[in-house]
């Protein structure tokens, strides 16, 4: 059982539409996996199934050798299974600093304390600051989220996930909406993650995918149609047709 994280035969359909057909996947410690595939292939659904937002009709999710399929979403987070949202879900009236502080406090189990003050809590402020700095959010740290640009909100999503110190991190299009000038920030943040962490990233930005991933899985119509090294992906005709299009050509020329 060297795999940190494994799913077996995950299956789900909405009405007549099968969005996840018997997906099995495993990730060892330190894995950097990219999950790509056409729109509506079932990638986000896969993340929802893994994190417990949705219940699969069949299949198991195993973390650290423990079957977590029966656990709720919150317990899975506490066990180290953390995600970001494709469409940002943030507290529009709170500041990035407050978001991250709250997350750190929660991780430490101090978030529901009635004693002590939330603001100016020196025990966590150092860590909060370094997380915000990693993602370049210091400048907007004290502005309400509703007032900061969308790209920055995406970065904050990642900041929150990092603040949870996950074992397995599932990133749903972390770079969508983040300008190419700022994607390096995300990459840097990912690089600084503890090496033992397993990361699964869904992304349509192929440059980022190829820089990041050690392994690529391609999902189409709820099924894994390809699994292998990044260098092999562009060569696969099925993937080219279903997903890559001209990108594959550009790539093979380059």
């Amino acid at each position: 059982m060297s795999d940190l994280f494994r799913v077996e035969g995950l299956t789900k359909s909405f009405g007549g539409l099968a969005v996840s057909r018997d997906i099995s996947l495993s990730m060892p410690e330190g894995e950097r996996l990219a999950l790509i595939g056409p729109n509506g292939a079932g990638k986000t659904t896969f993340v929802n199934l893994v994190t417990g937002q949705l219940a699969p009709s069949a299949g198991r999710v195993i973390l650290n050798g423990e079957d977590v399929t029966g656990l709720g979403a919150v317990r899975r987070v506490r066990k180290g299974l953390v995600r970001t949202f494709q469409v940002t879900r943030l507290f529009s009236d709170m500041t990035p600093e407050e978001h991250v502080t709250l997350t750190v406090l929660q991780r430490e189990g101090k978030a529901s304390r009635l004693l002590g003050r939330f603001h100016g809590n020196s025990q966590v402020s150092g860590e909060v600051e370094s997380i915000l700095a990693t993602l370049g959010l210091i400048e907007v740290a004290r502005r309400k989220v509703r007032e900061i640009a969308y790209g920055q909100q995406r970065l904050l999503e990642i900041a929150i996930a990092l603040a949870l110190r996950p074992k397995v991190l599932l990133l749903d299009e972390p770079a969508a909406g983040v300008p190419s000038s700022d994607t390096p920030r995300i990459e840097q943040a990912l690089e600084r993650l503890p090496p033992s962490l397993a990361v699964l990233m869904i992304e349509h930005d192929m440059d980022l995918v190829f820089r990041f991933a050690k392994r690529v899985v391609v999902l189409a119509a709820g099924e894994i149609i390809f699994e292998g090294l990044p260098s092999e992906v562009a060569a696969d005709p099925k993937v080219r047709e279903a997903y890559l299009g001209s990108y594959a050509n550009a790539r093979s020329v380059a």
Binding site: F14, I36, G37, P38, N39, G40, A41, K43, T44, T45, Q86, V87, V140, E147, I148, A149, Y150, G151, Q152, E173, A176, G177, V178, P179, S180, S181, D182, P184, H204, M206, D207, E241, A242, Y243, L244, G245, S246, Y247, A254
Partner: protein, 238 residues
Amino acid sequence: MPAASLDVRGLSAGYGPTVVLEDLSFSVPAGSRLSILGRNGMGKTTLLASLMGMTRRYGGEIRVDGSDIASAKSSERAMRGIGLVPQTRDIFRSLTVEENLLVGIKGRPRSVIEEAYEMFPRLKERRRNLGWQLSGGEQQMLSTARTILGRPSVLLLDEPLEGLAPVICDELMAAFSRLAASGEMTILLVEQRLESALDFADSVMILERGRIVWQGTSETLRSDHELVERYIGVGSLH
């Protein structure tokens, strides 16, 4: 409606008390393509939203084919031919795909939604699904299709490729180019991917902190690496 020209003079706009755009002036000839570039939070979205009438205007003129629409409500602007595909997609979550499209047809016959289905066959498969059930990319397709169905003469695209599979991006950019080339639409595109943006547009405008800091042709920008580095960031061009 054929493509219209767009003239912006001294536009200042923002949200509530915050002024984001200051004194912007530029013009886009009918049927041409303009890319708007700029780092995160520099005001690209705000600019497009202001053209659509969705922000607070502090001053300036917006002329479409010569007539000023700066004080018109967004619905009037829509009727005068402006169409926006917003960055946040803003699909109607509780409506079905088909109903979403019907909102966008602006009085054209119902049957025109077939055009949208042709452009995005994926949407046809999901036509009875509610908006919130769609995947991210499907929402993006829906948002784009919905606006295009209204046949705008000035089309404002705010990062329309976000979240789309590369193969769809290609098709979509090709479609945009066709629409512009046919003389039906003037297109303003905000796009993070420099290459796509330059490939698409005749001319380019760079925003920084709510002001225009550079305007010129795509060719000039493509060849001027220093400029790119200064305003947009390193490593953007391959």
